[in-house]
């Protein structure tokens, strides 16, 4: 484990379905999150972003899913080697998670105060009054007006943005070292989206919580994250600091993603879209997973999976073509 990393994922493989005809959903995902860092995990739907985050929490529904290989090291402990019964001690206390759907992620028949308070009650021996005080303090921190008066409200009495704030308050109550945010702003209005992002930035600055932000929205990632992990069809295809990725994307898929962001002064030409769609998991047996949609492909891509080449700076990408162009090499053997 590298010093200074709160989370290290190495060679993570996840498959779904019955063992004899299992479908590979993650094929060797590796990346790090530094202490207090913010990492963006991007890719289209079906690229394996959410499965990666659920695997970290060990919340992949099983059956049908299971981790077949790899390690997820959190503060020196391999989470995958822990007995499942130990995970509730880590969930919520050390690693917290917020989800995409604030409308459905809160229990409809439980008061907001109780739901948030439950997060701390599960991990700390704390009396009712102290719990209440902590909940109110946290609700203030996430910007809920009149928190004392909202404790006895039910989720349906909150707007979507307010519910996501409640989710964030719940996630941060135990001061976790890592917050996994799975598309936290996707279901929100643009103005609310900006508010929630500001809130997450602010919290990171104040509490030093590391953030893994999962999003298909590169704008959101650029706003919040120091580094970016690009996933495609269960593979990590590019990793790098945020500016590097945005300035000089090395993988054709990343280039496609960046080119398909609408721009305000982009003229009137048709918005770029990557042709085709993400392959159905399990259909790619060899070669580069992006082969069928890639505009730069060569023959080698069809048969040989490219390793992660090291480019300038911290940037790494898995592409034969751009690596050759940039004279990039593999510094360490691919894991």
């Amino acid at each position: 484990m590298m010093k200074g990393n709160v989370l290290e994922i190495r060679d993570l493989h996840v498959e779904f379905g019955p063992k004899d005809r299992a479908i590979q959903v993650l094929n060797g995902v590796s990346f790090d999150i530094p202490q207090g860092g913010a990492v963006g995990l991007v890719g289209e739907s079906g690229s394996g972003k959410s499965v990666t985050s659920l695997a970290t929490m060990r919340l992949i529904p099983s059956p049908p899913g299971r981790v077949t290989k790899g390690t997820i090291t959190f503060n020196g402990t391999d989470l995958l080697a822990l007995p499942l019964g130990k995970m509730p001690d880590i969930r919520g206390r050390d690693i917290a998670m917020i989800f995409q759907e604030p409308m459905s992620s809160l229990n409809p028949v439980m008061k907001i105060g109780d739901q948030i308070g439950e997060a701390i009650m599960l991990h700390e021996n704390i009396d009712r009054r102290a719990r209440r005080a902590k909940v109110i303090e946290m609700l203030k921190l996430v910007g809920i007006p009149n928190p004392e008066g909202r404790l006895d409200s039910y989720p349906h009495q909150f707007s979507g943005g307010m519910r996501q704030r409640v989710m964030i308050a719940m996630a941060l109550l135990c001061r976790p070292k890592l917050l996994i945010a799975d598309e936290p702003t996707t279901a929100l209005d643009v103005t609310i989206q900006a508010q929630v992002l500001e809130l997450m930035k602010d919290i990171r600055a104040r509490l030093g919580t590391a953030i893994l932000l999962i999003s298909h929205d590169l704008g959101v990632v650029a706003d919040l994250c120091d580094s970016v992990v690009v996933m495609y069809a269960g593979h990590v295809v590019e990793i790098g600091a945020t500016e590097e990725i945005f300035d000089t994307p090395r993988h054709p898929y990343t280039r496609g993603l960046l080119a398909s962001i609408p721009r305000l002064h982009g003229g009137e030409e048709r918005l770029f879209q990557i042709p085709g769609s993400v392959p159905v998991p399990g259909t790619i047996k060899k070669g580069c997973p992006f082969y069928s949609r890639c505009g730069m492909r060569i023959d080698r891509c069809r048969t040989e999976m490219p390793p992660m080449f090291d480019f300038d700076g911290s940037q790494r990408a898995a592409c034969w073509v751009t690596a050759a162009e940039a004279h990039a090499h593999v510094k360490e053997p691919a894991q």
Partner: protein
């Protein structure tokens, strides 16, 4: 809340009126003449006419209808054609037996059915789930009068653990007399509620907020009971209402098998004897029960689901 209850009560009035009208019409189009039924085939026309006059059966139909409504309104259901006792007395004597049977069987059904459903949902597609499925199939398939007879033969006649018939005297004895009939009715309820709990709980356990509970660090018991079952109870409330109504209709057969007093038994013997006044009264009581239970369900919804606005 009180205002809401009052409004629901007022809403029930048209239903009650409709039910009473249907009962009245059904009684009039039923084959057979109550006067002949009461006095026998050899009564003279004068005797029949006198009987009809006494019972108000010679009045025009609309007048009979309003008399009937007024009677129900003033809790005067007339007198039994057979033994001349006020129908209200017969009902008041028999009603507690039916109510206690219904309550007890629903209680047994819930106490057995809900845990079975939780067990099945937690071990989905494994041995406990299959066992519960088989139990439910048997519960659905076996008629209550047959099950009642089996229990009666086994536990009362052969083993002598329970009384053979009657309703019992005094609290403890009445509970003692209740156990087998209530178990008989509870069997299908447990089967029904077990399946319902399983389905409902499995559906809820796949919801986003259950994932949130896991992510918070809740352990399985807490996730299942505090977050899962609490939400799964919403559809269960409907099931419970239906099940209580089914207990009422089931009580007819069970009261016969166990030869215990009750509205069901009262109705059956009244029908056999063409005792129109008693039939009318018994059906009205049953109908009121149904309306009342539906009303209660509406109230329970408000209590268990905070999203239902009471205005």
């Amino acid at each position: 809340m009180a205002g809401y209850f009052l409004r629901r009560l007022l809403d029930a009035i048209p239903t009650v009126l409709l039910v009473l009208t249907l009962v009245f019409i059904a009684m009039r189009i039923l084959p057979g003449d109550p006067a002949i039924a009461a006095l026998g085939d050899f009564a003279t026309p004068e005797q029949l006419a006198a009987f009809r006059a006494k019972m108000g059966l010679d009045a025009p139909l609309w007048q009979q209808y309003f008399n009937f409504l007024w009677g129900v309104f003033t809790l005067d259901f007339g007198r039994s054609l057979m033994n001349n006792r006020p129908v209200l007395d017969l009902i008041l004597y028999n009603l507690p037996f039916t109510i206690e049977l219904t309550l007890m069987s629903v209680m047994f059904g819930v106490l057995a059915g809900v845990p079975l459903g939780v067990l099945a949902a937690r071990h989905r597609n494994k041995a406990p789930d299959n066992a519960v499925r088989v139990f439910s199939l048997i519960g659905y398939a076996i008629p209550d009068f047959y099950l009642g007879a089996l229990l009666l033969i086994t536990f009362s006649l052969n083993l002598g653990w329970f009384p053979i018939n009657g309703g019992g005297e005094g609290f403890a004895d009445r509970i003692y007399h209740l156990i087998l009939p209530a178990l008989t009715l509870a069997f299908i309820k447990a089967a029904f509620l077990g399946r319902l709990t399983r389905t409902s709980l499995l559906e809820v356990l796949g919801r986003d907020y259950v994932r949130t509970a896991w992510a918070k660090g809740a352990r399985e018991n807490r996730v299942v009971y505090r977050h899962g079952l609490r939400n799964a109870l919403l559809p269960l409330t409907t099931g419970l209402g239906l099940s209580t109504l089914a207990a009422l209709s089931g009580s007819v057969a069970v009261e016969l098998v166990f030869n215990r007093p009750g509205i069901g038994k009262l109705l059956i013997s009244a029908i056999a004897e063409r005792d129109y006044a008693v039939i009318q009264g018994g059906v009205v009581v049953f109908a009121m029960f149904v309306v009342l239970i539906n009303l209660l369900m509406d109230l329970v919804y408000v209590i268990v689901d905070p999203r239902i606005q009471v205005k």
